[in-house]
């Protein structure tokens, strides 16, 4: 969702959005543990600053594509959390009538075009939306979120090449959380910073602290402006950390506890809260209200979802084609 102008109050609004994602995903995790939600769930708890910072620089008619860990991206782009949670819960009131699920969220009305279960699979799709946008000359941009695991895939490299060659208005947002599934990036590639790949293809690229909301906002403001001016694609690598396992239920034994503790200090929500407090923009009470409000909304989304009907049996093979 766009913000009109950056003021101290903007930061409060962005914190509100980060809390909404955090509360939403913690609620989903809770429902999963209670077996109210089943399936394969990948949560982005700890990575909220990337989603919120990026989408706060976008217009409603810009296109966003995600991956398998994209609940936060959809919410940040403006998806309705009731319909989103209902989708994750497999209910008929979900965005996709329960046919998509956690990894295949589509919230077209919000400009969240699609997520995917294929690592890096939407990177080429974002190029296509950018191509169409460029032809329409409405200065729209396309954004695609993917993780460091995608950086070793063929379609990632093909896409960087074509985006650069055709100067497409696409922003590659790499959420480098250090792990491709269970394996550290260093075991998959000798390249330390995935932004290096983009530079090789002649794309404007940078690496930022993805747990620093303001750093993400600054990088994305520049990226969006570059794209809107028709100057070609931009690659922003955001260093971050997922505080949960690869999927819900993953014991994440491959990760040192000390490492997790270190990242908890860098929790993007806590960092923004500390900043707002030290600058005397927001009081403790107001900060608490932000959290409580988000948790109440997540609670209502859960009630909405679990009280929604399942899709009817006939829906198993409807909408296979658009006829």
């Amino acid at each position: 969702m766009p913000v009109k102008k950056d003021t101290p109050k903007t930061l409060v609004e962005l914190l509100r959005r980060m809390w909404l994602i955090r509360a939403f995903e913690e609620k989903v995790s809770e429902l999963y543990a209670a077996r109210e939600i089943v399936g394969l769930l990948h949560l982005g708890i700890g990575q909220e600053a990337v989603a919120v910072g990026t989408c706060s620089r976008l217009r409603n008619d810009d296109y966003v594509f995600g991956g398998h860990r994209s609940h936060g991206h959809a919410i940040a782009k403006g998806a309705d959390i009731n319909r989103l949670m209902a989708e994750i819960a497999g209910r008929a009131s979900g965005y996709c009538r329960g046919k998509g699920g956690s990894m295949h969220i589509v919230a077209a009305e919000a400009g969240f075009i699609t997520a995917t279960g294929v690592v890096g699979g939407t990177i080429p799709l974002a190029l296509g939306a950018a191509f169409a946008a460029k032809e329409r000359k409405q200065r729209q941009v396309a954004v695609v979120f993917f993780g460091d695991g995608a950086g070793q895939a063929g379609h990632f490299h093909e896409s960087l090449n074509i985006a650069s060659l055709w100067r497409l208005p696409v922003i590659f947002v790499c959420e480098n959380n250090g792990y491709a599934e269970f394996t550290p990036l260093s075991a998959h590639t000798k390249i330390e910073r995935l932004a290096q790949h983009a530079k090789t293809y002649g794309i404007l690229a940078s690496t930022v602290d993805g747990n620093d909301l303001l750093a993400v906002c600054r990088a994305m403001s520049k990226a969006v402006e570059h794209c809107r001016k028709g100057q070609g694609p931009v690659f922003v690598e955001c260093l971050t950390h997922r505080m949960r396992g690869h999927y819900e239920g993953d014991p994440a034994k491959y990760r040192e506890l000390s490492q997790l503790a270190e990242w908890k200090k860098k929790d993007p929500i806590a960092r923004v809260s500390r900043r707002l407090k030290s600058k005397k923009i927001t009081s403790d009470k107001e900060l608490e209200e932000l959290e409580n409000d988000a948790r109440a909304r997540a609670e209502r989304a859960a009630e909405f979802s679990l009280s929604s009907p399942w899709p009817s049996n006939e829906e198993v093979a409807t909408q296979v084609t658009a006829d």
Partner: protein
């Protein structure tokens, strides 16, 4: 009706659809230069490089790019130069193009046409000769068409481009320079409708693409010995028009299916499964297949000739079906 080659009919249909609808864009390797067979020759000059887009040799990404463009309002036509290379784009085609309408609960439509050349001619070997149409029919959400003559190529391509779903339009290379009468204007061929290429009463032969010519030649020869053959061109493999095939078999009680793809798991297997449910009690003999052996396509012209089904093998199967072999 003017006469045209298969190639020119496709080229003309593309140009007409691009004129009619400014959201139609072509993407592919060398398309602005006409491609290796000249299908899109002159289109780059006419419509500009922004609408006839030469792409790098990156099939996976070009397919994904076209899907993304379709979600954003374009009606892309992607050319995959040889069906052997659709393997590289199968992830995007199968996981995104085919499923996004369903997975989004109807929010997204993917009006994408994939033009792809296939088949054996000219001893090009195992990586430039395959027939992989049956793979594609196994994917829910994809439509698959495979014309046998210039008029159907024109009419089906127009239908494919105007369809709101991903359609794979398969062009057999061996047909490119064949000629036929081609109607002008809005002569559409609906997707999902077979055609009866020759009427007969003793035996039904269903034949795909280039095999239709061989089947018609076999029918001619068989008529000399008093055997009346009905020949059906399915044209569309998914959805498959089993009604037309079943109606014919109810009349003839015998069915032979011919395709150039390998026999195992080929589209004939699906036709047989559907046909036996519809017409089992009308059949006088087992349904037979004439297809390629379970082997890669050989490069040697001597072996290639042995690999491809021909008129004589079809005649032999016809006699078998009639209990005369």
């Amino acid at each position: 009706m003017p006469e045209q080659t298969f190639l020119d009919a496709i080229g003309a249909a593309l140009a007409e659809e691009m004129n009619r609808d400014t959201s139609v864009y072509l993407f592919g390797e060398d398309v602005a230069l006409g491609g290796p067979f000249g299908v899109t020759k002159g289109r780059g000059e006419k419509f500009g490089a922004n609408r006839v887009v030469n792409t790098p040799i990156s099939e996976a990404t070009v397919m994904g790019l076209a899907i993304g463009a379709a979600t954003a309002g374009l009606r892309p036509v992607v050319e995959i130069m040889f069906i052997d290379f659709i393997t590289l784009a199968m992830d995007q085609l199968v996981n995104h193009a085919a499923k996004l309408h369903y997975m989004s609960g109807g929010q997204l439509k993917i009006p994408l046409t994939v033009r792809v050349q296939c088949g054996i001619s000219g001893a090009m070997g195992a990586h430039h000769s395959q027939s992989l149409e049956a793979w594609l029919t196994h994917v829910p959400g994809l439509k698959v068409v495979m014309p046998s003559n210039p008029a159907d190529a024109r009419g089906l391509l127009k239908s494919a481009i105007r369809d709101d779903n991903p359609v794979v339009f398969i062009e057999h290379r061996g047909l490119y320079w064949s000629r036929g009468q081609v109607p002008e204007g809005e002569a559409m061929v609906p997707i999902g409708k077979a055609s009866v290429a020759r009427e007969g009463k003793d035996l039904t032969i269903v034949a795909l693409a280039n095999m239709l010519g061989a089947a018609l030649a076999a029918a001619d020869e068989l008529s000399g010995s008093g055997i009346s053959v009905e020949v059906i061109d399915p044209r569309s493999l998914s959805p498959l028009d089993i009604e037309t095939i079943a109606a014919s078999v109810k009349k003839t009680s015998r069915l032979v299916i011919v395709h150039e793809a390998v026999e195992q798991g080929g589209i004939a297997a699906e036709i047989i499964a559907q046909a036996q449910q519809a017409v089992f009690y009308y059949l006088d003999s087992p349904i037979l297949r004439v297809a390629a052996p379970l082997a890669p396509v050989p490069a040697s012209p001597a072996l290639e000739k042995r690999f491809v089904p021909d008129k004589n093998r079809i005649i032999h199967a016809a006699h078998q079906a009639l209990g005369k072999a």
